[in-house]
């Protein structure tokens, strides 16, 4: 029964995803899928971060760093030409085992690069390992100190990509190839494979949501919430707090890295702005708007805000909008927009009556606001 409750929204999400695709098809507006696909990948980062922040209660202002690690490593490995190093023992060994692939670019130049599949795996694994290594010491910190440490990590990654020739410095990496992730299913930004890519992206989001929901509603999820409530009490109850925190951190980093890899191949390029501090702040802002411990709220807000931002609706005020949102939400709706109970109020108006549960909920919300 609890499972049914959890499945309903997922089914709704899937229906909604398909409905949007069909709607764009029949209204002749398939171009909306481009930004919806990009939003889906950013949403993957956001839902991962949502579990870390909302449920485990650990902030991270460095998640753009993990996104960039995934995207940059995959991009670098699949674009740097190894043809000149062909006689190098290591390169020829890799070539022998099928790790490398020979391809031709748009201008007829032959390139020998790492096969995108191996590049993606390596990129995600690197992000996971880095998350493990820095997560151990960093998650011992609390509150502002944790925020500062993760912020520092994000800045380090940004400086590394800005100063490393291998990662293209200020120009980033372009001409990242598209490739078949499964036979017949091509991951890339071409106009003709847009629908497939829309479903790849949203399939990943649905998959991620299911994993996270199961996590939240399991023993681990309850342990995480107890850590959020009081780490000392959780410790006293015999919960291995540091391990749970670390695993959640690594999981959300993996989500970010996967999103980074996929979006980079979809866009065909990645630049240092993906690793920037403003990007990390943006993810945090979206999680806050959605309501910290509200997976669906985070997802909905992420899709809407990213979609608008990627279409240039905010114009010159793009970064300012996200900063302002964070401030306004923290001041007036610390539980997120969905936590304001607008829908309960709407429902009350629509049904014209009061069902047993709603006023109670509202009261607690208004009570909190006054405090």
């Amino acid at each position: 029964m609890d499972q049914v409750r959890r499945i309903i929204p997922v089914v709704f999400l899937i229906v909604f995803i398909v409905a949007v695709q069909l709607a764009t098809k029949y209204t002749g507006t398939p171009f909306y899928l481009t930004q919806l696909t990009m939003s889906a990948y950013y949403s993957l980062v956001v839902v991962g971060l949502c579990v870390l922040m909302g449920y485990a209660g650990q902030i991270s202002i460095g998640h753009a760093g993990f996104f960039a690690i995934g995207g940059y490593i995959s991009a670098a490995l699949t674009t740097h030409n190894l043809l000149e190093l062909k006689d190098n023992a290591f390169v020829s060994l890799l070539n022998k085992y099928g790790v490398l692939v020979l391809r031709e670019d748009l201008y007829g130049e032959t390139l020998l690069t790492v096969h995108p599949w191996y590049a993606c795996l390596l990129a995600i694994m690197t992000a996971v390992i880095i998350a493990f290594v820095i997560g151990g010491p960093v998650l011992k910190l609390k509150g502002h100190y944790l925020a500062m440490a993760t912020l520092g990590f994000g800045i380090i990654i940004y400086q590394i990509v800005m100063a490393t020739e291998y990662f293209g410095e200020a120009d980033g990496i372009s001409e990242v190839p598209s490739f078949n992730i499964l036979p017949g299913i091509e991951l890339g930004g071409g106009f003709e494979i847009r629908v497939v890519n829309y479903y790849i992206a949203w399939g990943l989001v649905v998959f991620g949501i299911i994993i996270l929901q199961n996590l939240i509603h399991s023993r681990v999820g309850r342990a995480l919430r107890s850590i959020h409530g009081s780490e000392e009490a959780a410790n006293a109850m015999g919960i291995h707090t540091s391990r749970y925190k670390l695993y959640t951190f690594v999981l959300s980093a993996a989500f970010a890295a996967i999103a980074g890899v996929f979006l980079t191949h979809y866009n065909g390029s990645i630049g240092p702005s993906e690793a920037g501090v403003m990007k990390s702040v943006r993810y945090v802002a979206i999680v806050a708007v959605g309501g910290m411990a509200h997976l669906w709220g985070a997802l909905i807000m992420s899709v809407i805000l990213n979609f608008l931002s990627l279409r240039g609706v905010f114009g010159t005020y793009d970064d300012a909008v996200f900063g302002a949102i964070l401030i306004v939400i923290m001041l007036f709706a610390p539980e997120g927009i969905l936590g304001l109970g607008i829908f309960q109020k709407l429902k009350k108006i629509m049904s014209g009556g009061v069902s047993g549960k709603t006023p109670e909920l509202q009261e607690s919300k208004t009570g909190q606001k006054q405090v």
């Binding site: 029964m1 481009t34 990009m38 866009n267 809407i304 990627l310 429902k347």
Partner: protein, 408 residues
């Protein structure tokens, strides 16, 4: 038989809760759908245009780290479009400029490029301001057969040549060659290279070291300073110790480049100082004062528009643009805005040349065969050369009495 009944009764409250959840979800989904629908109709209605207008997209970094490039570019494009439309447009068709602020971000440039191509169905795109963003959309433009005239300088944009991709700024390597040719004239063969720690500085450092042997010049010292440096006397002291140095090249786009010149003169070191085209900003001259008198640097002729001889081919274009821009925006004109001027005018002239037809293949052909007098120089495009500028686009300049002047 009674088993299921009991089971049912136990389920009831949960079912109710389930329905609650479902209901709440329906309402929230509805709200989202309504919001999206409203947005979409708004966007569609705003992009409806008149039949024959020429839609031109522009992806410009008006904000973010490259705003010093994007601001003058955006202003120039807006001003120029208004002027052309006020004069009746191109063969009667008005230009509709769709300006997008990329914030200097590649992912935004990619998103906007796709949006402009498919949704707004623009005829051509101008910009992006930055090399990275241009490279990110180069293949998208080529695959969708839409013209791109970039305002970014890296050589990779036009090498390998993509049929539909052009650029207006001069290659950095041309400025380096210009400096070395001047050195040969002066009989200088041993130099020190000092660069500001930015992408511009690194690129210059690479070309300076790569091309020096071609001109029989030896680079004795290489130094990089922080773009935020406030005092560089340590660097100057180190270089001064090497008595063989005959000249210093200071390749930078940041304000700190002025500090090096000041520290050199304060230390009483009077070897010739060469700067890059990144020095072409009158504000730098004002902060540097007397220390900058007599420095040498290559730059486009926009900086000395007023003092060009009347019969110079660029004279008219430069003076008109400079006066228009400065009177409208009340700020000194910069070469960056000039890149956007050239990009739009190349497109406009090409469309005019084919009789106002919006035919991509014909317009590309027209650009490839065109000679265009712009702010950056005299462009001569060809199917193999989509940059169009040669070394004569640069002029060796100096600072004389606190003003830019042609070097003698």
């Amino acid at each position: 038989m009674r088993g299921p009944e009991i089971h049912d009764r136990q389920q009831q409250p949960v079912n109710k809760e389930e329905r609650e959840v479902a209901k709440r979800f329906i309402t929230s989904t509805l709200a989202v759908v309504v919001a999206l629908a409203a947005m979409i109709t708004l966007l569609i209605s705003s992009t409806a245009a008149e039949a024959h207008d020429i839609k031109v997209g522009a992806i410009i970094a008006e904000t973010g780290p490259a705003a010093f490039l994007g601001k003058p570019e955006a202003k120039t494009l807006q001003m120029l479009t208004d002027q052309i439309n006020a004069a009746g447009g191109i063969n009667g068709d008005k230009i509709e400029l769709i300006l997008k602020d990329s914030g200097g971000k590649k992912e935004n440039a990619v998103s906007f490029a796709k949006q402009l191509i498919e949704e707004d169905k623009v005829f051509a795109i101008l910009g992006p301001s930055r090399s990275g963003s241009t490279m990110a959309i180069k293949n998208i433009m080529e695959e969708s057969k839409t013209i791109l005239i970039s305002c970014a300088s890296t050589k990779k944009i036009v090498d390998p040549v993509a049929k539909h991709v052009f650029k207006t700024p001069q290659n950095d390597s041309l400025a380096v060659r210009m400096i070395f040719m001047e050195m040969q004239k002066k009989g200088i063969s041993k130099i020190a290279v000092v660069v500001g720690g930015t992408g511009f500085g690194k690129m210059g450092n690479m070309f300076l070291n790569e091309l020096a042997p071609e001109y029989g010049i030896t680079v004795l010292e290489n130094e990089t300073y922080s773009p935020k440096a406030t005092d560089l006397s340590a660097v100057v002291a180190k270089l001064m110790a090497n008595k063989e140095i005959q000249a210093v090249v200071n390749w930078s786009i940041v304000p700190a480049q002025v500090i090096l010149a000041k520290n050199m003169r304060q230390a009483g070191w009077d070897v010739p100082l060469f700067l890059s085209h990144g020095f072409g900003n009158i504000k730098y001259v004002q902060t540097g004062g007397a220390a900058l008198e007599g420095v040498l640097f290559p730059a486009g002729r926009l900086l000395i528009a007023d003092s060009l001889p009347a019969d110079h081919p660029q004279k008219e274009v430069l003076v008109t643009y400079k006066n228009d821009y400065e009177s409208k925006f009340n700020e000194p004109v910069s070469t960056f805005g000039g890149h956007a001027y050239d990009a739009l005018m190349i497109l406009v002239n090409a469309i005019k040349a084919v009789g106002g037809k919006q035919d991509t293949a014909m317009v590309v052909d027209a650009i490839e065969n065109m000679t265009f007098v712009g702010t950056g120089g005299v462009f001569k495009f060809s199917p193999e050369d989509h940059s169009g500028l040669k070394i004569d686009a640069f002029e060796m300049m100096t600072v004389k009495d606190g003003k830019f002047a042609k070097a003698m």
